[in-house]
C-alpha cells in the first residue's frame, strides 16, 4: 500500500496498521455504496418524473396557483338561442378594519365624497364602531376603487366579489329568479339549479325564447293595462317536446333592483298561482267523456232547464233552452250541458281523468315555485258536476297548458321542461291519457270555437288557430266575487298539426267601452293569444294556410250542430262564461 501523503516521500505500512487501514477502506466502500444507491434512486426518480410523468405532475403545480385564490364565477343562464339571461361579473367591494382607523370623521367624509350612495354620518358610525370588519360598500366601480385606493388609508381593504347581472331585467324575472347579494340562488331557476350554477362552468341553457317571451310579455302587459287587470300570466309550450318557450307573469320586477320589488311582483302567477279556470276545463271534461266511449260528438244533453243538485243550481249564462250536442255545448259553453254529460259518465270518471292529467299534484317543473292544486276532498257528485265546467277546482296556468298539450298532441301527457335536454334528438317521455282519435275530435271543436264561437278574437288570418275561452268568478277566501273574474284563453296552433299551446290569463280585468263592458276571456285574453300567434308564426317560419276559412270549418262541423246557422255562433261571444 502506498500513500502519497508527505510530498513524494514514500511510506510503507504493514502489519496490524495495514490491517486497520484495510478495514477502514472497506467501511468507506460500504458508505460510498450506500450513498451511491441513494443517488441512483434519486436519479431514477428524476428520470421517471421528467420523462414519464412530466405531464400529470406539471399541471396542478401551474394551475393550482390560479384556481386556489379564485372562487369559480357562477355559471351564466342563457335562452334557447344563447342570449344571456343572467351573468356573473367580478366586482370589487370595499371594507374597513375599524380598529385601525385613526380619524373616523375625516375618513368618512372622504369616502362619502367618492361613494355617492353613502352618507358621512352612516360611514362615521361604522368606522368608529371599533369592529375588525365593517363593509363600506359592496360592488364599486373600478374608478371608485382607484380613488379609494389613492386615499392610502391602511384600514381600508378591498375584496373581489361576484355580482349577478340580469341584462334583460324584467323579461323573464320570475322564471330565471334571483340570487341574494352573496350569489346564492333564492328563487326560480337560480334556486332550483343553485348547486350546478355555483360550480361555474358551462352556461345553463333554458328552453325559453327571449323573442317569444318579449312578445308574450308585451301583449299581455297591453291587455293588463287596457282592462285594468290586477295582473296576468302567459305561457307558450311546445306540445311535441314539453319545452316551455315563454312564461310570463305580470306584474313583474327588475331583478337588478331586487330591493324595490314587491311580493306581488315576485309572485309567479304562471306556476305558483292557483286559479279556477272556468270553461277552459270543459276541454278536459268533454275529452274525458269522448275518450270513455260513453259520449259521442252527436250525443245530446238537454240544457233547457237549470240543473239542481243538492242545494246548488247550475245555470247557463246564455241559456239556449234546448237540447245541445257535444260541439254545441262546447262552443256555446253550456254549464248545464257539461254537468249533465259529467253526470252521465258516473262519479269517478272526471275525478280519475283529472288525476291522470296531473290536476291533483304539483307540475314537475324546474322552479321551486310550484302550486299545489286546490280540489275538493272528499270528491262528491256535486264536485264532479262543477269541476266539469271548471269550478271548485283551482290549478296553476301551467297545469292547464300541460294538460291541454296532451289533449291536442295526440293524447300524450309530457313533462314540461325549462331546460334544454343534453341530447336534442332524445324523444321526450310521456304517458298516454286519451286516444289519438279523441285528440283529433277535440282539435276540431277547439277550431270551431275560434272560427265561429267565443274565441273569435283569437282568429289569425292565415293561421289555423284553435282555442277555448274561460271566465270564472274570482274566489276570494271561499266566497265568489260577483264582479271579479279570472279570464283566460287557451290557444292551440297550428290546430291541424298542433305545435304550440298558448295560454293567456288575466286576473280581475274590467270591461271597457270597446268590449261593451264585458271582461270575459273572449274579449280580454283571446286577443292576446291571437296577437302572440300572429307574431310568433312568421318568426318560427310556420307555413300559413290560406285555404282555412271560417265558412269551411263551420260547414265541416255542421252535421254535429243541430240548429246551427252561419255566423250564429259569433252571437255567443258576449255570453261566454
Amino acid at each position: 500500500m502506498a500513500f502519497d501523503l508527505f510530498h513524494g516521500r514514500k511510506l510503507t505500512i504493514s502489519g496490524t496498521q495495514a490491517q486497520m487501514l484495510e478495514q477502514a477502506r472497506l467501511r468507506l466502500v460500504w458508505v460510498v455504496m450506500v450513498m451511491m444507491m441513494g443517488y441512483i434512486a434519486i436519479i431514477l426518480r428524476m428520470g421517471d418524473l421528467c420523462l414519464l410523468h412530466h405531464k400529470s405532475m406539471s399541471l396542478p403545480a401551474n394551475n393550482g396557483a390560479v384556481a386556489a385564490n379564485e372562487k369559480p364565477l357562477r355559471a351564466s343562464i342563457v335562452d334557447r338561442n344563447g342570449n344571456l339571461l343572467a351573468v356573473s361579473l367580478r366586482m370589487a367591494s370595499v371594507y374597513a378594519n375599524a380598529k385601525m382607523v385613526h380619524d373616523p370623521a375625516k375618513l368618512a367624509q372622504k369616502l362619502a365624497a367618492i361613494l355617492p350612495k353613502q352618507t358621512t354620518g352612516e360611514l362615521f358610525k361604522r368606522l368608529s364602531s371599533g369592529k375588525g370588519f365593517v363593509w363600506i360598500q359592496r360592488f364599486i366601480t373600478p374608478k371608485q376603487e382607484y380613488a379609494i385606493n389613492a386615499l392610502g388609508d391602511p384600514a381600508i381593504r378591498f375584496q373581489e366579489e361576484q355580482r349577478r347581472i340580469y341584462p334583460d331585467a324584467n323579461l323573464a324575472a320570475q322564471v330565471v329568479g334571483y340570487t341574494d347579494i352573496d350569489s346564492h340562488g333564492i328563487a326560480g331557476i337560480e334556486k332550483f339549479f343553485n348547486k350546478r350554477l355555483a360550480a361555474g362552468g358551462k352556461p345553463l341553457r333554458l328552453t325559453l325564447d327571449m323573442r317569444i317571451q318579449h312578445i308574450m310579455r308585451q301583449d299581455l302587459a297591453k291587455s293588463v293595462k287596457t282592462f285594468h287587470a290586477l295582473g296576468g300570466a302567459g305561457i307558450v309550450m311546445d306540445v311535441t317536446t314539453g319545452e316551455i318557450i315563454a312564461m310570463v307573469s305580470l306584474p313583474d320586477f327588475d331583478p337588478n333592483h331586487l330591493g324595490e320589488a314587491t311580493n306581488a311582483e315576485k309572485f309567479d302567477r304562471a306556476t305558483l298561482g292557483d286559479y279556477e279556470m272556468g270553461s277552459t276545463f270543459k276541454t278536459f271534461s268533454i275529452a274525458a267523456g269522448l275518450d270513455s266511449g260513453k259520449v259521442h260528438l252527436y250525443s245530446v244533453f238537454d240544457a233547457s232547464h237549470p240543473l239542481k243538485i243538492d242545494q246548488f243550481t247550475i245555470h247557463d249564462f246564455d241559456a239556449k233552452d234546448r237540447p245541445l250536442t257535444i260541439p254545441e255545448i262546447y262552443i256555446y259553453s253550456s254549464n248545464i250541458g257539461t254537468a249533465k254529460m259529467a253526470q252521465s259518465l258516473g262519479p269517478d270518471t272526471i275525478e280519475n281523468f283529472y288525476r291522470t292529467l296531473g290536476f291533483m299534484q304539483q307540475v314537475p317543473i324546474q322552479v321551486p315555485e310550484r302550486a299545489m292544486p286546490l280540489y275538493p276532498s272528499p270528491w262528491r257528485l256535486v264536485n264532479t258536476l262543477t269541476a266539469a265546467f271548471g269550478h271548485g277546482i283551482a290549478v296553476s296556468p301551467l297545469h292547464v297548458v300541460r294538460a291541454a298539450s296532451a289533449i291536442v298532441n295526440g293524447g300524450i301527457l309530457l313533462k314540461p321542461t325549462l331546460v334544454m335536454p343534453d341530447d336534442p334528438n332524445a324523444a321526450p317521455e310521456g304517458t298516454r291519457v286519451i286516444s289519438a282519435d279523441t285528440s283529433a275530435k277535440m282539435r276540431r271543436m277547439l277550431e270551431l270555437v275560434v272560427a265561429g264561437g267565443t274565441g273569435s278574437e283569437a282568429w289569425v288570418k292565415g293561421y289555423d288557430v284553435g282555442g277555448k275561452t274561460g271566465t270564472a268568478d274570482k274566489n276570494k277566501n271561499g266566497k265568489y266575487e260577483n264582479h271579479a273574474n279570472i279570464s283566460s284563453f287557451l290557444g292551440v296552433f297550428p290546430i291541424w298539426h298542433p305545435r304550440y299551446v298558448v295560454l293567456a290569463l288575466l286576473d280581475d280585468p274590467q270591461g271597457t267601452k270597446a268590449t261593451y263592458g264585458f271582461s270575459t276571456g273572449g274579449f280580454t285574453a283571446a286577443p292576446v293569444v291571437g296577437d302572440v300567434i300572429a307574431r310568433m308564426g312568421p318568426l318560427y317560419g310556420i307555413q300559413p294556410r290560406m285555404d282555412i276559412t271560417r265558412k269551411r270549418i263551420e260547414k265541416e262541423m255542421k252535421p254535429y250542430l243541430k240548429e246551427y246557422k252561419e255566423g250564429q255562433a259569433i252571437a255567443a261571444l258576449s255570453t261566454d262564461n
Binding site: 367580478r90 360598500q137 364599486i140 334583460d168 288570418k461 312568421p538 318568426l539
Partner: protein
C-alpha cells in the same frame, strides 16, 4: 493533483452551472406562465363583461324601439307568405312577335335642297373650353367628419354607463 480529479471538478462545476441555469429558466418560465394565466383570466373576464353588454344591447325591447325609430320595416304577418308553387316560373323562350305587316312600299328618294348641301360642305369650327379645375371643399369635408365622429361618440355607450344604469355605483 491528478488529471482525473481536475476533470471531475470541471464536470461538477459544469453540472452545477447547468443546474442553476435550468432552475433559473424554470423560475422565469413559471413567472411567464403565471402572467399568461393571469392575462387569460383577464381576457375571459373582459369577454364576460362584453357578453353582458351584448346581452344588454340585444334586449328585445330596445331592439324593437330602435327598429321602429330607424328602420322602415314592419313585423311579418302570416298573409305575406306564398307557396313556391304559386310563383309563376319562366317557361320556355317567349314566342317570337309576329312579323311586321307591310302597309306601304318604300317611298321614292327625295332630292336634297341645294342650300342644305352647301351647309354640309362648309366646315365649322367648334371652340372647346378648358375645363375648370375641380374645387374641393376641404373645410366642409372636415366638418362633416367631425359631425360623424361626435355622433359615433354619442351612440357608443361604455359599459360603465350600463353598470351605472343597473344601479351599481
Amino acid at each position: 493533483m491528478r488529471k482525473s480529479t481536475l476533470l471531475w471538478l470541471v464536470l461538477a462545476a459544469f453540472c452545477g452551472t447547468a443546474l442553476f441555469h435550468t432552475s433559473q429558466k424554470v423560475h422565469d418560465e413559471r413567472n411567464k406562465l403565471a402572467a399568461l394565466n393571469a392575462s387569460i383570466a383577464n381576457e375571459k373576464e373582459s369577454i364576460r363583461v362584453l357578453n353582458a353588454e351584448w346581452g344588454y344591447l340585444n334586449n328585445p325591447q330596445r331592439l324593437e324601439t330602435l327598429a321602429k325609430t330607424y328602420l322602415h320595416m314592419k313585423p311579418l304577418t302570416g298573409t305575406q307568405f306564398i307557396n313556391v308553387e304559386d310563383i309563376p316560373l319562366r317557361t320556355a323562350a317567349p314566342p317570337a312577335p309576329p312579323a311586321p305587316k307591310i302597309v306601304a312600299e318604300k317611298p321614292a328618294a327625295i332630292k336634297a335642297h341645294p342650300r342644305r348641301l352647301a351647309a354640309v360642305e362648309r366646315p365649322m369650327t367648334i371652340r372647346i373650353r378648358k375645363p375648370a379645375a375641380p374645387v374641393y371643399f376641404k373645410k366642409r369635408h372636415k366638418q362633416r367628419d367631425n359631425v360623424l365622429k361626435s355622433r359615433d361618440a354619442a351612440t357608443a355607450r361604455n359599459f360603465g354607463d350600463v353598470i351605472k344604469s343597473l344601479g351599481v355605483e
